[in-house]
């Protein structure tokens, strides 16, 4: 970085620049090259022969290459570049700018044994081929190995350090002073684990925030999107606000707010920072708070304070991690097996309720009554989920169960009340909506609460589900399904109720009847009376009494049910309606005596996810074919089918299910048209004449048959034809230009010139149509059957209206060569009419 200073007014050059990173070259600014040469004369260090003109566009680059500011500050995270600790995360403790050195804090990788050997003068171990793993330094260990430990006092900070072998330790960390060159400070993103290691005991979640703020200086700026409001923070245009127009690799084009500037400016993305106004709704896209949405409360340079939508708390995030969006998240509610509001057992024999789920950890309200204690735990620190539903007694010796509403009469949360969410070891976790902290959870001893009432006892639930069972045939089936599933939930809970007694544990459980007249049925225990048990059969709508010996516990519904009520409500609700409509179908089925099929079908229905309509079809077939009478009942199911239809839409095989229903609801014309279908040779109907409308249906709904699908378009096709159908229900349809004969009178022929909307035709008498015009009703005239080689007009079927030539007759069919397409078709003679010769 040597530069020659040649100052003097005689010199014509303007300036001389020497760049740090471009050694051996200097830039001279002057008007003429001659001046440059003049100035260099006499200087020893410059080769004045090699003078090169810098092109204009490179000029600014020369000067602009200066910003590589590596601002190191205390508590920054850096990574070591060399030595044993290469790649390790380190925290800057002290920065010495004068000497370009920093003191960093590392997790030591010390091999005590080798150190001991070295210090005692024994054989010096060779350079270890591997690096010892990072481990906190234990002073006592060192002492055991007879390494001298010295306490030293650092003159600047006043802290005590242990000096071992020339290295300074404190709290287990190694403090090392290195030159700035051996650390990299850019783009250091410490992982959660690394941060965790650096946490000395005693710190808690605060360190996250601290690390957040110190990550600032070294972070890569986030992405800019079009339309973002940004502000320039560095460079020439500092403090200029603008909006992003376009984003390039390196540059961001912004439209500045100030007048007088060109429409778009290209700015380096490093010099920009996103700008938010309080009141913007934003979403955090990276960092520890990723996924949170909220409203900006305050903007402080690079840090925004956002009121989160999910937790209703303030969170601090970097402006770069945030984009403006109107999305509102509900937040993640579960990681792994544990979900929000679960009671979990932590490893050190404490337990608590999960009150918040963050990206990698949970916030748990510990089970310490009288004093809310929140701990931040990671997934692996949770031992298991607690599902036990024990019962405790409250202050007045009343039994308290989950979902009972209790009021706290003692302690710091006195006066709060709410339903009990969890009970464990005599401690209640109550959820009070009005309680603002800890997501509304309060932990209290059961003896400091009283039951308020309004408990949703088991019996009520039974009754509810039961009555809902009865309302199977009513249209609003959908609310029933969540009811059914919630029934699934409480039984699972009810089953675990260990506190009451032997048979209480049975109430609410799902059992299977093993003996007796109801053998094979599944049901739920609603009541226990001594030796006999009343079971509500799942398949029938009745409650039967069976002997205790005849039932066995059915363990099908345990964990899956536990999970599904939670979030299955949302995702699986569409499935439920499909479940319930099956119920009505079950009943007629049983009437037909097809009980075994019913049972067999139920099993797959229960357990599997909801594709198996296909296994359903065979029984369905039986049912429908066997009970045409029950078709009559199907209109009842109209309200039912729409939901099922909505669900079945994706399943191809089940397309049939909706169509027959659809057909029936359109009772009337399509029915008639189906009969006309019969007459017209239509490609849709494989079997035509005399068929009940049933038959085509059954043909069509065989799962997978492509013929099934076209039923629907067929119906549509029919509709298109119905105006014509309406004109003439049976027999030929009249069209202009055909030869007709007056019924009864052999001789009078005429040509239909026009068919009127009411069905009558205007006929012009005479075989060539040049006689009188009369108006005739369809039943007065009949068509003239064509003969071979006659020109004909086709009056029915898909080719209606086409003309052609009859080239042969085959019984009741005629062989026609259609004019337009030159196809040879075989059509019924009845629909062919002789074309009038003009």
């Amino acid at each position: 970085m040597q530069k020659c200073i040649d100052k003097g007014s005689e010199l014509q050059i303007r300036s001389v620049i020497a760049l740090d990173h471009l050694k051996n070259y200097i830039y001279i600014e002057a008007d003429k090259e001659a001046h440059v040469k003049e100035a260099c004369k006499g200087l020893r260090n410059i080769y004045s022969q090699k003078v090169m003109l810098v092109p204009i566009r490179e000029m600014t680059d020369v000067l602009a290459v200066e910003s590589k500011a590596i601002d190191l500050s205390r508590d920054t995270w850096v990574r070591m570049k060399i030595g044993n600790y290469k790649g390790d995360l380190a925290k800057v403790v002290d920065v010495d700018n004068v000497r370009q050195r920093v003191t960093v804090k590392l997790i030591p990788r010390i091999d005590l044994q080798a150190l001991a050997n070295k210090l005692e003068g024994r054989e010096v171990a060779k350079k270890k081929p591997f690096v010892p793993p990072p481990r906190f330094m234990n002073v006592d260990e060192a002492r055991e190995l007879h390494i001298r430990v010295e306490r030293r006092r650092d003159p600047m900070t006043g802290d005590y350090f242990e000096n071992i072998g020339g290295m300074l330790f404190k709290d287990g960390f190694l403090y090392k002073t290195v030159s700035m060159k051996s650390i990299s400070a850019q783009n250091i993103q410490p992982t959660f684990d690394e941060l965790e290691k650096f946490r000395t005991p005693g710190e808690n979640g605060e360190s996250d925030i601290a690390s957040l703020s110190t990550l600032f200086a070294n972070r890569k700026k986030g992405h800019f999107m079009k339309g973002d409001a940004v502000i320039v923070i560095k460079g020439d245009l500092k403090n200029l606000k603008g909006w992003v127009e376009k984003v390039d690799e390196e540059n961001v084009h912004i439209r500045p707010e100030m007048k007088g500037l060109p429409k778009t400016l290209a700015v380096n993305s490093k010099e920009l920072c996103k700008y938010f106004e309080p009141g913007n709704h934003v979403k955090v896209v990276s960092g520890t708070q990723a996924g949170a949405t909220g409203m900006v409360l305050k903007v402080e340079q690079h840090v925004l304070i956002i009121l989160s939508d999910t937790t209703k708390e303030d969170i601090r995030v970097f402006a770069d991690d945030v984009v403006e969006s109107s999305e509102v998240t509900t937040g993640i509610t579960k990681i792994g097996d544990y979900e929000l509001r679960d009671l979990v057992l932590l490893d050190n024999n404490s337990f608590g309720v999960i009150i918040r789920v963050e990206s990698e950890a949970f916030q748990v309200l510990k089970g310490v009554p009288d004093r809310p204690e929140v701990a931040l735990v990671k997934l692996r620190e949770i031992k298991c989920k607690l599902e036990k539903k024990s019962n405790v007694q409250d202050r007045n010796k009343n039994t308290v169960a989950v979902k009972d509403v209790v009021r706290i009469v003692e302690g710091p949360c006195k006066g709060k009340q709410g339903p009990v969410e969890h009970i464990y070891r005599g401690i209640l976790f109550i959820h009070d909506r009005h309680h603002l902290e800890h997501a509304g959870f309060i932990c209290a001893k059961s003896s400091s609460c009283v039951v308020v009432g309004g408990s949703r006892a088991n019996g009520d639930r039974n009754g509810d589900a039961y009555s809902r069972f009865n309302s199977l045939r009513t249209p609003p089936r959908i609310p029933q399904s969540p009811g059914r599933y919630s029934r699934g939930g409480p039984p699972a809970g009810g089953r675990n109720r260990g506190g009451r007694g032997g048979h209480d544990a049975l109430v609410g459980t799902t059992v299977k009847v093993r003996l007796g007249p109801y053998k094979g049925y599944r049901g739920r225990v609603v009541d226990v009376k001594g030796q006999s048990v009343r079971v509500e059969l799942e398949s029938q709508m009745k409650v039967v009494t069976v002997d205790r010996s005849m039932i066995s516990d059915n363990v099908v519904v345990s964990t899956p049910y536990r999970d599904t009520p939670r979030y299955g409500m949302g995702s699986e609700t569409p499935m439920h309606p499909s479940r319930t409509p099956l119920h009505p179908y079950m009943t007629p089925m049983r009437d037909a005596g097809a009980t075994p099929i019913h049972d067999g079908m139920r099993t797959p229905m229960r357990d599997r996810a909801w594709n198996p309509y296909t296994p359903m079809s065979p029984p369905r077939d039986n049912w429908e074919d066997g009970n045409p009478g029950s078709w009559g009942t199907s209109p009842q199911y109209q309200p039912g089918s729409p939901p099922s239809r909505a669900y079945e839409a994706p399943t191809p095989g089940s397309g049939w299910a909706s169509t027959p229903g659809g057909n029936y609801s359109d009772a009337g014309t399509p029915r008639d048209s189906s009969s006309t279908y019969v007459n017209a040779p239509s490609p849709y109907l494989p079997s035509t004449p005399g068929g009940q409308p049933m038959t085509p249906n059954s043909a069509s709904y065989l799962p997978g048959t492509p013929g099934g699908q076209p039923m629907t378009p067929g119906t549509g096709g029919l509709d298109a034809m119905s105006p014509v159908i309406g004109a003439d229900n049976e027999g030929p349809w009249f069209m202009p230009d055909i030869l007709v004969r007056r019924s009864g009178e052999e001789s009078v022929v005429g040509v239909i010139r026009e068919v009127l909307p009411d069905g009558s035709c205007r006929v012009v008498l005479g075989s060539s149509g040049n006689g009188d015009t009369i108006t005739a009703l369809p039943n007065e005239i009949e068509i003239v059957p064509p003969r071979k080689t006659d020109k004909i007009k086709i009056m029915g079927g898909p080719h209606r209206g086409a003309t052609g030539k009859l080239i042969g007759v085959d019984g009741t069919d005629g062989i026609v060569k259609v004019d337009v397409s030159l196809d040879v078709k075989i059509l019924d003679m009845a629909i062919l009419a002789k074309l009038a010769q003009p």
């Binding site: 970085m1 040597q2 200073i5 100052k7 020497a18 760049l19 600014e29 000029m59 000067l63 500092k238």
Partner: protein, 113 residues
């Protein structure tokens, strides 16, 4: 070339410091003696502690300017209004808050030329 040129650094070792505001480069001793020509309000010549506060040894690149008003490079670097002398292209530190007040009060804010 009107104004009197600033002192030129006498050596190029570790003592070189750059004024945080105007980026003039001189040695520590030179600052102590005569302060900063462009920023007299810092009063470095009187208050020696100020030298450490207002200058930094962390800087990149040097440009020596004979005539800032007529040098494109000098104007680009915003030193077009300063006295001739040695300047640095960039400083790695920012001026501390309290001293910024002094600066803005003398109406020398950053403007696009």
């Amino acid at each position: 070339m009107g104004s009197a040129p600033a002192q030129i650094p006498t050596s190029f070792g570790h003592e070189l410091r750059a004024c945080l505001r105007c980026r003039l480069v001189k040695t520590y001793d030179q600052f102590r003696e005569s302060g900063c020509e462009n920023c007299p309000f810092f009063k470095m010549d009187e208050d020696h502690e100020r030298v450490v506060d207002c200058t930094t040894p962390n800087f990149n690149g040097i440009i020596s300017v004979m005539d800032p008003t007529r040098s494109w490079a000098a104007r680009w670097l915003r030193i077009g209004r300063f006295v001739p002398g040695c300047y640095t292209l960039a400083v790695s530190e920012a001026l501390p808050e309290d001293l910024q007040g002094l600066w803005s009060s003398t109406a020398m804010s950053l403007e696009v030329m």
